[in-house]
Symmetry: C2
């Protein structure tokens, strides 16, 4: 039987809220917080669930919640409202361990995505989801990217962040240079001085890494130079650029895994 939490000042609740609010705290604790029944159940398939909170109403709707192997807490509605990042909460919240990102394992997958200062959590979430959908095996992040384990990015990735190893590297151009040394073809998405997608066709026997830059500025020169080649999505002259999530998804689709 789950323990009741009746106070918004309960230590477990405060800890969960801090995980939701602070990327630095998530890093330090190697943990993250998620809201919503569907999202928590999806994440639980890929990540270790440490704590679950639910309201009486949520438990009645989904009795299986009580069978999840983790710390369990029943929370009163006003406590659920504090935990919730959105209005009219579904009343299910989880604290998960962050999955470990191992570069060697990622490389063996043959397909990586690297993001440089992609700042919008919705874009990061959508890209993580598309990467998982199209057979990519891991994600490298530069400093300054939105955290894929923050609340907005988690909602946008719909749990995909739990299925893919994610690794933040101190200096992305160095990481890309190392990948190239190891035989991984790094392909920079760049509007200028780049080849259209149709001309970028492997084979890349050592695997490939698609590299995408920030919404406003694109990739740094240093990141582009670390890559084997630069590619662009051909467009009509009716637009100047694409939405970052849309452009990234087209690239990930183009470089999708075999069999898709």
């Amino acid at each position: 039987m789950a323990e009741w939490i009746t106070s918004r000042d309960n230590g477990k609740v405060k800890y969960a809220c801090k995980l939701a609010q602070s990327a630095a705290f998530r890093t330090g604790e190697n943990a993250f917080f998620a809201e919503g029944l569907k999202l928590c159940l999806e994440l639980e398939k890929g990540c270790l669930l440490k704590v679950i909170f639910y309201t009486q109403k949520a438990l009645e709707k989904t009795p299986a919640l009580a069978e999840l192997r983790c710390e369990q807490y029943l929370v009163e509605e006003h406590v659920a409202e504090k935990l919730a990042g959105v209005k009219s909460p579904q009343g299910v919240f989880g604290v998960f361990e962050k999955p470990a990102g191992d570069l060697e394992q990622m490389k063996r997958s043959g397909r990586l995505l690297a993001l440089e200062r992609v700042q919008d959590p919705g874009n990061v979430g959508a890209l993580v989801r598309s990467a998982a959908a199209f057979g990519f095996g891991g994600i490298l992040l530069s400093p300054g990217c939105a955290d894929p384990f923050g609340p907005k990015a988690l909602r946008a990735s719909m749990g995909a962040a739990g299925r893919l190893p994610v690794l933040t590297v101190p200096h992305l151009p160095d990481a890309l240079a190392q990948l190239e040394k190891d035989g991984v073809a790094c392909l920079a998405a760049a509007l200028y001085n780049s080849r259209p997608l149709s001309e970028a066709a492997g084979p890349w026997p050592g695997g490939l890494c698609v590299v995408i830059g920030s919404e406003g500025q694109g990739l740094s020169d240093e990141a582009v130079h670390a890559c084997r080649e630069a590619v662009r999505i051909p467009m009509t002259d009716r637009v100047e650029s694409l939405n970052a999530g849309a452009a990234g998804s087209v690239l990930l689709w183009h470089f999708r895994g075999e069999g898709l």
Copy 2:
């Protein structure tokens, strides 16, 4: 020389705010409101600019604003704040005439996008932008779609809404059936009972129309049945679905115009 507006209760200001807030008012007035220097200049390439408002500071930064052929108003900062939908406004605002959507002209383009109840303005905006980028010549909307000329969708489409004719039809399945009768191949995006994209390759001498449904429910059965065939984006089993803007952009890219 532009006239000064010093009151937030000025009739022109109230009219602009109402255009920003109400899709019904936009329809009735056949006009829309946009905020931001870059967005307004981009829209002005495709739509008739009727009124422009700017702050003294914005005018000093971009003196060319005074040369735009339309009604011109200088607004005080506090008036700009009322007009602005976002914090720290850039101080440039325009009222535009909605471009007319003519179905016959759209059909001649050979490539249409149809949306059924796509409710998120960010998704509608991203899809309009991708459609313009990938050589589509017009957009059909069912009732219940977010208005591409609302503030959020305009920001997401970055002005592309002014470059493509957009037409809201009373009943989308009827419109699709009529397109099929006229020889246009309507292709429904559907996860089930559909062929993978790789098997959907024309030629479609009468043109094609990509049909995309709502974020949660996808397309109605009626819309799918009105279409010649249903297609899906193949995915790994790591995700259940894609972000609507991402999925739509991949479809639009796959069915892109010649020469891209």
